[in-house]
């Protein structure tokens, strides 16, 4: 990717993102869309019913064919091609724009990794919005965001709490015979830098004085607990290290959501609401293609981009350059250099999940 193009992309994304931040939720009713979406979503049963009643609606046929589809990894090339054709047709019709569904495989010698500079992050959530836009997440009811920025509060040690400890001396001791406070008064509440963050902060402006920020998303674990628990091998690790989900195979049991220690997975509780005008038509089968109700989704390191040599949307949009992405097997990639030279840590290393998402400070 040329530097020029990269910059342009960056500019473009930034503008788009600013728009996204500014835009109020779309109020226009989309009953048509919703109606349509429900028909698609009722899924195989409707497909079957339509077939049985002799209706040769293309829609029903697609749904029916999709219902019989096998697990993506077991499909022959021919089956994959058919599946992709079906999807492209369906999406193009549904969203009113030419949509492509890519199936580019992982490249040999590539293992994707990510590094995030928590010192730089200012908590602006531009990455969150860029991700939603790029990856066709449901916008409302229920809105899905793959990245969440956690605001870490700086708690205070206060002198007036000094004598408020517990237990207060001996239980039956006379006044003046107490033997000091066993647990400090400041210990009764969050003090110092605490790990009790929250991700719903709405400040006037960022960064705030009393906080720092800690973005999380799927860590693309090398030993992913989510993959282990999935009963039907819907979710698995691709050769380039990205943990993906075959949306057409997921049975919605949410075992993986129970097992993920990073709260990275989201569920389509209802039919996703993706406005036509906001839909990103450049999709990947295992990445950002529109999802259906009842399946799980999560960050895929923007497969549709990164497998084509581009940066993820979040890396591109970050205004302070806190986000770095690259090939862990290439010693000259940014991410490898960071691992080499910076103080790096991973989240919840005690769980032995080996995330490929690293945090660092300058």
């Amino acid at each position: 990717m040329s530097k020029d193009k990269e910059n342009k992309d960056f500019e473009k994304n930034k503008n788009e993102c600013a728009e996204a931040v500014a835009a109020t939720p779309i109020k226009k009713t989309r009953r048509d869309f919703l109606k349509k979406a429900t028909t698609v979503g009722t899924g195989a049963f409707v497909g079957a019913a339509a077939l049985l009643t002799g209706s040769d609606e293309a829609e029903a046929k697609t749904t029916w064919a999709e219902w019989f589809q096998r697990n993506y990894r077991l499909m022959t090339d021919e089956e994959k091609r058919e599946a992709v054709e079906r999807l492209e047709l369906r999406y193009t019709e549904e969203y009113g724009k030419k949509t492509t569904v890519d199936t580019t495989d992982a490249k040999e010698g590539v293992l994707f990794g990510y590094a995030l500079n928590i010192q730089k992050c200012i908590g602006c959530r531009r990455c969150v919005h860029a991700c939603v836009k790029e990856n066709n997440q449901s916008r409302e009811n229920t809105a899905i965001e793959w990245i969440r920025v956690i605001r870490m509060e700086k708690g205070h040690f206060l002198p007036e709490d000094m004598d408020k400890g517990s237990p207060q001396g001996l239980p039956f001791g006379k006044k003046g015979e107490e033997y000091g406070i066993q647990v400090g008064g400041n210990a009764g509440k969050p003090v110092g830098v605490v790990l009790e963050g929250q991700h719903y902060y709405e400040p006037e402006s960022v960064p705030e004085k009393d906080a720092f920020y800690f973005p999380i998303q799927c860590m693309q674990c090398e030993k992913p607990p989510c993959v282990k628990v999935c009963p039907v091998r819907t979710t698995y690790r691709e050769p380039d290290g990205v943990v993906v989900i075959d949306y057409n195979w997921c049975i919605g049991c949410r075992m993986c959501m129970g097992a993920c220690p990073y709260w990275a997975r989201r569920f389509n509780w209802g039919e996703p609401n993706l406005p036509k005008e906001d839909m990103n038509p450049k999709t990947h089968y295992l990445g950002n293609r529109p999802r259906m109700k009842g399946v799980v989704e999560k960050c895929t390191f923007c497969l549709q981009r990164t497998r084509k040599g581009r940066y993820t949307a979040c890396v591109e949009v970050c205004p302070v350059g806190a986000r770095k992405f690259g090939n862990l097997l290439d010693p000259n990639s940014e991410v490898s250099k960071i691992l080499d030279r910076k103080r790096v840590f991973r989240l919840r290393a005690d769980l032995n999940t080996y995330p490929k998402f690293f945090y660092f400070t300058d």
Partner: protein, 426 residues
């Protein structure tokens, strides 16, 4: 092997067996019909609830990305225990050759069948895409086109699916084979029946153990992540299950001609009381272990017991279940109370409800609060979830009632093969 040729399979008697069972399960007194109608009332709402959930998705439930498992799985976990608890009837009967129990083993097996059916209904309700259930059919099954894939042996859920279905099969085979042999007036073939019964006994432990493993193998959920969970599951199940069986026996004794010996009920009451005692002890161990150190891993328990950050939906349930378990334990310890068959069913009902609350509201739900990133989100089941859950219970009770009615008919000898009559019908 050498036993197999000894079963005579006679199609005519099998046909008549099926017809007689069907008639028996649908014919009864006015009271029986009223009971069925009462259950049917819930099933009407169940149909509505399922229609809503299938057409709109899981959004009609109270679940969210933080609390992703709710009362469906809570009931599932509890009912796996009830199914496993049939062993408290079968074990004394066949391992200790305890005569009074042997006569009612069939009822225990009927309960297991009904409970597993409820489990499966709850699991289907829990799934976001029940239409894709076939993805779980292992690919070697001889089903054309539907080639599923099993994450075996990695995923504990696949073990659970297998053990539950096999358990259902074992109990169905044992129960129906026994009923059929009695029906045609023959003795069961010991070489087939007894090994099956013993496999079912071991299997009963496996279903609840595997269900416990389903939860306690997730370090992301520290509340469940300890090795005490399986034993606690089994112990509470062996208190709740026999408690339910005692209630069922009492009703059967009252409403039918089947004689159930008091000794059988007494033995079950003893099982209930000791399991309750151990369950309470395990609860105590957990509370002390978690709360003494008070690490972040104990937040779920603290939230359950006292509420946290002003969220305290579950607090009342914890204390209620503790109250119910302690009260029933203490009462059952008194021999005069335990042997008084008039009040025993009520105490059993208290223990049963107490454990249901303990496993659902007290164990499954708080596992999700706080979320792995420390967020506290409170979950309240939606009306649809309640409709579906009540409906699943109603279906289970209906299945049990009908099976038990047939079983009683067979055991009392009212249902018998009458070859001449069958011939006449031909």
């Amino acid at each position: 092997m050498f036993g197999i040729k000894k079963i005579d399979i006679d199609l005519k008697s099998i046909g008549s067996f099926a017809i007689d069972l069907f008639i028996c399960s649908w014919k009864g007194s006015l009271r029986y019909y009223m009971w069925l109608a009462f259950l049917g009332f819930f099933i009407v709402f169940w149909i509505y609830g399922n229609y809503q959930q299938l057409s709109n998705g899981m959004i009609v439930t109270g679940l969210n990305d933080q609390v992703t498992w709710g009362i469906y799985l809570a009931n599932f976990v509890f009912l796996v225990g009830v199914a496993a608890a049939a062993v408290t009837v079968v074990f004394p009967a066949y391992v200790y050759k305890y005569k009074p129990m042997k006569e009612v083993v069939l009822i225990g097996e009927c309960l297991a069948i009904a409970a597993v059916i409820m489990c499966l209904l709850f699991v289907v309700n829990h799934m976001g895409r029940p239409d894709r259930s076939w993805h779980m059919f292992p690919s070697w099954l001889p089903i054309p086109y539907l080639k599923g894939i099993f994450n075996w042996p990695n995923s504990i859920l696949t073990f659970d699916v297998v053990v539950l279905n096999v358990y259902l099969g074992l109990n169905a085979v044992c129960a129906f084979y026994y009923m059929y042999m009695k029906y045609i007036g023959k003795e069961v073939n010991k070489y087939i029946y007894i090994p099956l019964v013993f496999i079912a006994i071991v299997w009963a432990f496996s279903i609840h153990t595997v269900t416990a493993f389903l939860l306690n193998t997730m370090p992301a959920r520290p509340m469940w992540f300890h090795s005490m969970l399986p034993i606690r599951f089994i112990i509470t199940a062996f208190a709740a299950g026999p408690a339910l069986i005692i209630i069922a026996f009492t009703i059967i004794k009252k409403t039918t001609k089947l004689k159930i010996k008091d000794e059988a009920i007494n033995l079950l009451a003893q099982i209930v009381v000791w399991c309750l005692g151990i369950a309470l002890f395990l609860t105590l161990s957990e509370v002390v272990t978690e709360l003494y150190a008070g690490t972040e891993h104990s937040f779920s328990l603290q939230y359950l017991m006292f509420g946290m950050h002003g969220l305290n939906n579950l607090v009342i349930f914890f204390w209620f279940s503790l109250f119910a378990m302690v009260t029933s334990f203490v009462l059952l310890l008194i021999p005069q109370v335990r042997k008084n068959l008039k009040i025993l069913p009520y105490i059993c009902a208290l223990a049963f409800v107490g454990i249901w609350v303990e496993k659902g509201m007290g164990l499954l739900l708080p596992g999700f609060t706080p979320s792995p990133i420390g967020e506290f989100v409170e979950y309240t089941p939606s009306i649809i979830e309640i409709f579906n859950s009540l409906g699943n219970w109603a279906i289970g009770f209906m299945v049990f009632t009908m099976l038990a009615k047939c079983a009683v008919g067979i055991l009392t000898g009212e249902l018998r093969y009458k070859p001449t009559l069958a011939k006449g019908e031909d």
